[in-house]
Symmetry: C2
Subunit: 356 residues, 2 copies
Amino acid sequence: MTFSASSPVSFVRTAVDTEIARFIERRRTQLLEIGSELAPAVDALEAMLSGGKRLRPAFCYWGWRGAGGDDVAEIHRAAASLEFLQACALIHDDVIDNSDTRRGLPAAHKRLADLHAAEGWRGAPEAFGRGAAILIGDLCLAWSEDLYQASGLELEALHAGRTPFDAMRTEVMAGQYLDMLEQVREGGDVEATLRVMHYKAAKYTVERPLHMGAALAGRFDDLAGVYTAYGLPLGVAFQLRDDVLGVFGDPEQTGKPAGDDLREGKRTLIVAETLERSGAAARARFLRHLGDPALDGDAVAWMRGVAEESGALAACERRIDDYVGKATAALESGLLDDAARSPLADLVVAATDRKY
Amino acid sequence: MTFSASSPVSFVRTAVDTEIARFIERRRTQLLEIGSELAPAVDALEAMLSGGKRLRPAFCYWGWRGAGGDDVAEIHRAAASLEFLQACALIHDDVIDNSDTRRGLPAAHKRLADLHAAEGWRGAPEAFGRGAAILIGDLCLAWSEDLYQASGLELEALHAGRTPFDAMRTEVMAGQYLDMLEQVREGGDVEATLRVMHYKAAKYTVERPLHMGAALAGRFDDLAGVYTAYGLPLGVAFQLRDDVLGVFGDPEQTGKPAGDDLREGKRTLIVAETLERSGAAARARFLRHLGDPALDGDAVAWMRGVAEESGALAACERRIDDYVGKATAALESGLLDDAARSPLADLVVAATDRKY
C-alpha cells in the first residue's frame, strides 16, 4: 500500500514515527546503562519498528478524530504504542515461521544469529538468534503498554481504552495460534480461513484500533457499532487483497517473487476457494505444488490458471467489492465527526485498490 | 523453599492462587468463544501458573502492607499479576533453553509438541510446540497487565505502580539476554555473574515487587530506599543459596539430581568463584566436565571437592551471611509498618536458610 505524501495517512505516519523514535531513544539509554552488550538487541528492535505502514496507528488516530478528538501529541503516542505490539507479533511470527527476512531486511532472529556467528560464540547461532528474538519481542510487548500508559492522556481515558486494547492482544495471539493450527492440520477450508482472518486481520488491524480511538475519546458506547460495521469488512477486504496479490501480484509492484504465497504454502482464502472449487485431480496437483520451495514459473502459471478458471479469483474479487461497499456505507453514520469521514474513506481505497 | 501452612507467605499464596484461578477461568471462556481448539493452549498456560512459590506476589503484598496498606482483594489481584509475568518468563525461558521439564512436569512447548505428535499433524512437533509456547508466553505477558489494571485499585495508585512495574519487565528481559550472552561467550566471571543476578534475581524477584507494593500504596518516595536496602542483598542471597544447592544439594531435599546445575553447565557464581580460585589444570578439567550431560557421580564429587577446597563454597556462604545481615538490618527502619516487619524477616530466613 502506498500513500501520497500529503495524504491523511502519511501525516499520521510522520507523527507516529517521531514518537516511536523518541521512545526508543529513551529506552536505549536505560538498556545501555544495564549493559552495553544490549546494543545489538536494541538495534534489532529499532529495525523492526522502522518502515511499517503504521496502519493500526492510523486507524486508532482516525478513530479518535472520528469521535471528535483533537490532533494532539498524546493520541500520536497512544496510537504509536500499537506499533510495538505489532513489532512483537512480527518478531515472534518470524521465529515461529523460521522466516529469515522481513520487508527485505534480515528478521530479528537472523540478525542476532549472524552476530553470534560473526563473534564465534559457543553453540548454534540459530538457537541464540531465536532466543534473543523471543526476548526482543517480549520487550516490544511490554514497551507497547509503557508507551500507551506514558502517552499523557487522562487516566480515565486510558482506562476506558483498555477494553479494546486488552481484547486486541488476546485476539491477535489467539488468531496466530489458530493460524498455526490450520497450517499443521492442513485444514484451511473457506470457513476456517475466514475465522483466522476475522481475528488476525479484521479485528486486530482495523476494528480494535478504531475502537481504541473511540474509547480514548470517551465515545466507545455510541461509536463501537459504527466502527465495527466499517472495520470488520474493511479488514477482511484488505487481507483478501493481500492474498490475491500473493498469488497474482506483479513482482515489480509487490516487491516479492511471483506466486510467493504459493511457494510458502500459505493457506489463504484464495487457496481455500480454489481447492473447494476444483476437481479431485486438479486439487491433488495444486496441493502437491503448494508449499514447494522450488516452485517454478510454469507451475505458478498453472496454479494461477486453476485459481482463475475455478472461479476462485472472481469469488475473492466479489467478496472484496462487497466488503468495500459495506465499509464505505458505514461511514455515512451521522455519529462520525466530519474530520474523519474522508480520511477513513481514503483508507478503504488505499487498503483494497492495489493492482496486480 | 517451603513455608508452614500458617505462615504469612502461605497466606498470600492462597489469596493469590484464588485470583489467578478466577482470572484464568474468565479468559478461558473468552478464548473458547474464539475457538474450541484453543483449549490445549489454555491448559498449558494454566499448568504453568500452578504450583509456583508466589515469591514475587508475596514481596509485592508485604511491600504494600509495609507501606500501611490494608489486606484487601485488590492488592491480591495486583500482586497476582506478577505471576503471569513470571509465567511468560518461564515459558519463554524453557523454549530458549530447550528444557523439556519445569517443576517436574512437561514444559509448555513440550506439552504442545506432544499434542502435535499425538494428533499426527503435519511438520515437526518441536517446531509447533515452540511456536505455540511463544504465543502462550505472549498471552501471559499481556494478561499480566490486564489483571494488574483490572485489580480494582484506584487509577492514581495503578499509575504510580507503573514505574517499578515497567522497570521490572525491561530489567528481567535485559537480564535474561545478558544471561544468554554469558552462556554463549563462556564469560561468566564473578563480576558478570553478579550483574546478571542483580537484574534477574535481586531486582526482578525482590526489589521491584516491593517497590510496586510501596508505589501502589502511595509510599514509593519514602520507602523505595528501605526496600532497595532490604531487597537487593536478599535477592542475591536467595539466588546464591539456589546456586549452592544446585551443586551441593541433596536430591531428596531439592527434587533435582545431585549436581544438576553442573550437568546443565550453568554459569553460576559458585562456578565463577571456583574457576577464578583454581589452578590451570583443575580449571581446565572443571570446564571439561561443566555442561557434560553424561556427568557421573564421581565427576560430581570431584567438582564439589574443587569448589570446596578452592574456597569458592566458603566465599559464597560468607556472601550469603553478609547479605542476609544487610537485608535484616534494613528492616529496622522506622518507616516500615509493623505489620510487615516480621513477615519480611520470615521471608529472609525462608529464602536463604535452606540446607544441603
